[in-house]
């Protein structure tokens, strides 16, 4: 299976929690916090829930509590994805 990328995550963010018109998700947002991107904790929960369903990973609330940026989210998902075949 391919790596989970930031572009994949941005797609999930838009689908699960919508997008703030005043904040672009297309630039280098890897280290920008979700809060600064307009996503509160409930929004991140929605995004994690979508990722769990679509990718078969487990993203429990306790773990997600420490995830503040898209890069951290992407890394956490990739840790759980099976290695590329």
């Amino acid at each position: 299976m391919a790596m989970f990328t930031q572009a994949d995550l941005v797609g999930y963010m838009r689908r699960a929690a919508g997008e703030d018109e005043s904040i672009s998700l297309d630039g280098d947002i890897a280290e920008v916090t979700f809060a600064d991107l307009g996503y509160d904790s409930l929004a991140v929960m929605e995004i994690a829930s979508l990722a769990e369903r679509e990718l078969g990973v487990r993203l429990p609330e306790e773990t997600m509590a420490g995830v503040e940026t898209p890069q951290q989210f992407v890394d956490l998902v990739n840790e759980q994805l099976p290695a590329s075949v």
């Binding site: 997008e19 307009g38 929605e46 769990e52």
Partner: protein, 416 residues
Amino acid sequence: MTTTLAERDAGTRPEAGRAVITGIGVIAPNGFTTDEYWDAVLHGRSGLGRVTRFDPAQYPVKLAGEVADYDVHAYVPGRLVPQTDQTTRLALIAMDAAVGDAGLDLAAMPSDQIGIVTGNSVGGLEYSQRELEKLWSAGSNHVSAYLSFAWFYAVNTGQLSIRHGLHGPGGVLTGHTGGLDSVAHARRYVADGLPVAVSGAIDSSLCPLGWVIELTTGRMSTVTDPARAYLPFDHAASGYLSGEGGAILITEDAGHARRRGARPYGEIAGYGATFDPRPGSDREPGLRRAIELALWDAGVPPAEVDVVFADAAGVADLDRAEAAAITAVFGPRAVPVTAPKTTTGRLHSGGPALDAATALLSMRHGVIPPMINVTDPVASDRLDLVLAGPRETRVGAALVLARGDGLNSAMVLTAP
């Protein structure tokens, strides 16, 4: 010395603390904007038709007043789209319109000086149904966390206050009279010293879940001709039709409005609310007392009321009771009675808020919109129904009536 709330609000005070309406935002089945709606009711243009939001074929009631389709992303912020039901989206749109109409720059005001209280009777049912379907068919991990608030009665007050950064007092009033009760409560906020309080109500429940809940009332019309289904005060009354929408009203301290040069539509002059006796009692329903309380609160005698916006249940015994209450207070055929909601259906808590907006528009434009489709009024009601087109007249004082299950609310609005 103690005074009741009504005495305190009774208009003997100076300008400060008196509440006027300075902004109106309508969203209705026959108008996506206030202007569209007003033009529609003046011309008797109906928004009633066969339900399109879902297939009504298997249900006994097939007609409703649906707000026209719109591009949600053109009106609702992207982050709010996944977390809002139609009822909240319509409320966001109506609030933007009301604030714009009032010419208020809310962001420039101290945020704790702006209150908000809205009416709501069903919450976000379509959203609830969709998420509950996911729960049953796909499992709990498919249910949106946003359901936690998107379904709730208070969601419109919450989302509107967050969207506009309002940190003053807030609340929600439930039930079908909520749209009127919220305006009265906003008036209390103003009497307590707030310069601005958002009020009004939007409701929407046009989904199968909402439909089967509402069908249990047994009061919806099963007639399939949109021009013959909802006929309040008519011999052919067969029940009511349901619709979605309502109005958001910007309530403002009269002095605050004057100092910033705003042009009020009218003043919230009086209000009364009563309960009905328990079902089966032979005591009189509470509507007449609600009317009398509102008139007394306003200091307006019945002879000075220029129009009554009726609750207009469309159910024969409820229409008789309303007609009896109106004639008991005003006398037979002594005041014009109208029901523009014959063009929209009953909008639950949104209905009385829209009626209040319509009454204020009548004052501004000097014309009473008609009720439509009624051709054979019950003569014994002894009402002067506004039937054959709009009636041009000065409207100095209007009475708006609303009923819910066992609840009665009445409001007197007066021209500025």
